[in-house]
């Protein structure tokens, strides 16, 4: 999957699972203020990302720093890179 495909997948999953209009989903949008999520949604956001990309986020410190949709893109891309760089 290319980075662009990953980003599209993230946006599509979040739009569907949180009933957000995909039109307004640009990277600088904040999750809480602009996209209307709240703290109760964070667990579901983690599960949506874990399910879409088949990795475990759980205790990942990076998740706490996420504020915007762009932060999620960067977080997932980095996570994918980390996992792919592990020799099998």
């Amino acid at each position: 999957m290319t980075n662009q495909e990953i980003i599209e997948r993230i946006d599509r999953s979040i739009a569907e699972e949180f009933e957000i209009d995909p039109e307004g989903m640009t990277p600088e949008k904040t999750l809480f203020q602009d996209l209307g999520l709240d703290s109760l949604d964070i667990v579901d956001l983690v599960i949506v990302l874990e399910t879409a990309f088949r990795f475990k986020i759980r205790e990942d410190e990076g998740i706490r720093k996420i504020r915007t949709l762009g932060d999620i893109h960067a977080f997932v891309l980095q996570k994918k890179n980390e996992l792919e760089s592990i020799p099998r």
Binding site: E17, F18, D38, L40, D41, D44, K56, R58
Partner: protein, 495 residues
Amino acid sequence: MTHDFVVVGAGVSGLTSALLLARNGYSVALVEKAGHTAPLLRGFSRRGVHFDTGFHYAGGMGNGEPLDVFFRYLGLSDRLSSFPFDASGFDTIRTAPDGFEFRFPSGYDRLLENLVEAFPAERSAVEAYLRGVRSAFDSIPYLSLDAPLDPNGALRRVFGPTLRETLDSLTGDEILKSVLSTHCLLYGVPPEEVSFQQHACIVGSYYLSARGIAGGGRSLATAFDARLDELGVEILRGCGVASLSVAPEGLLRGVRLDDGRELRCGGAVVTVHPRTMLDMAPGGSFRPAYKKRIMGLEDTVSAFMLYSVSDLPLPILSGRNLFVLPSADSVRGIGNRPLEESPLYLTAARGQADDVPRGFIGIFPALSETTRAWEDSVTGNRPESYRRFKEGITDRMEHLVKRYCPELGRATACADSSTPLTVRDFGNAPSGGLYGVKHKVGQYNPVPLTRVKGLYLAGQSVTSPGILGAILSGFMACGNILGHDRLIKGLLACR
């Protein structure tokens, strides 16, 4: 009809929530589908023997311990009389092939002593394990009144490590690991799935002390009823809830009953199974992600149960329970084994007038899949093939009890038995799980707060299983309404 709060479900978490809200000045209606409150706590009787189905014994009920303090705050203490289980060994763990026995005594110090005596080479493992349990238990808000309210605390129970991983890191002794994992039967999650934190949250109370209540679960139900009456809680018995009424702006405004009546309220504490709660909520109340999470939650194991009466008293079950493990690793994957390889939990059934054991309940964990062929049938109208299946299971259970516990077999006769379908239908458990939704590593159970303003969740699935867990869940849910500081202050005054 308008109330400040409606509480849905009069099980222990609902009864607790109703009392907490009423005690703190709110007008409360408590709605229960069954014809009386706490149906599971009340059990049933056969041949003059009473079989408790919801309460057998509890940990942490000694003077000043968490459950005792909860009972005092709720105003139940004066209405209840508790008695100690055998302090030198309230739970006997017996491994069937070799006749090895270990008895769990009350109190950490004695437990350490007994474990080291039974496993002399494992002192450091036992010490580390008990230290871990104690420290985890003491970090749970409300169970420990000094523990800070950490919003991320519950996540530790989702992250792991599992109980199995923790034990593997401490010792290679498989018998010791089985002994320390046996209490998984009290919450229906195998050691390879439950987090060490969650396990500690439950067993930590039993390691303090184990006690029974005179008269069993019925006495607890009666005490709750009397206190509800005293506080003026309106109880609507025989009333199922058809739906929750939610205003377009996402605010809970009432509860619609099966008979069409609407109870208007400022908020509701819903204590039914989370999937049942989703069925009650209007379509757009929750986001798809939340609904999927709730629908995907895995339930605790179910069980086949044997209810037997005895002509002779059963001293082996007087103030004691007996757990039988057919093999050292039989707690692993509990439920997912044939009866002959399954662990067995035996507890006393008492006479109508006294607390002397006059029978026993034998509980064999099982998956609800075992009765899937008859899942469309209802109690009282099951097909012949189900009756034959149940008879076969009952014979096997009787045979196993006689084989494992010859001291019980001689003068006993089967009075009844039950299957996962029975648990489903009498316990309002959609899949027949004994303790609601599993608390296991990697599974995110719902929290008391929801997206619907004014709607709070409580129950074993939300916080923790058992009487202590259900009461704790009432405090956790109502703390969001009343203020955790206020409740903790009130509890401190009762300590």
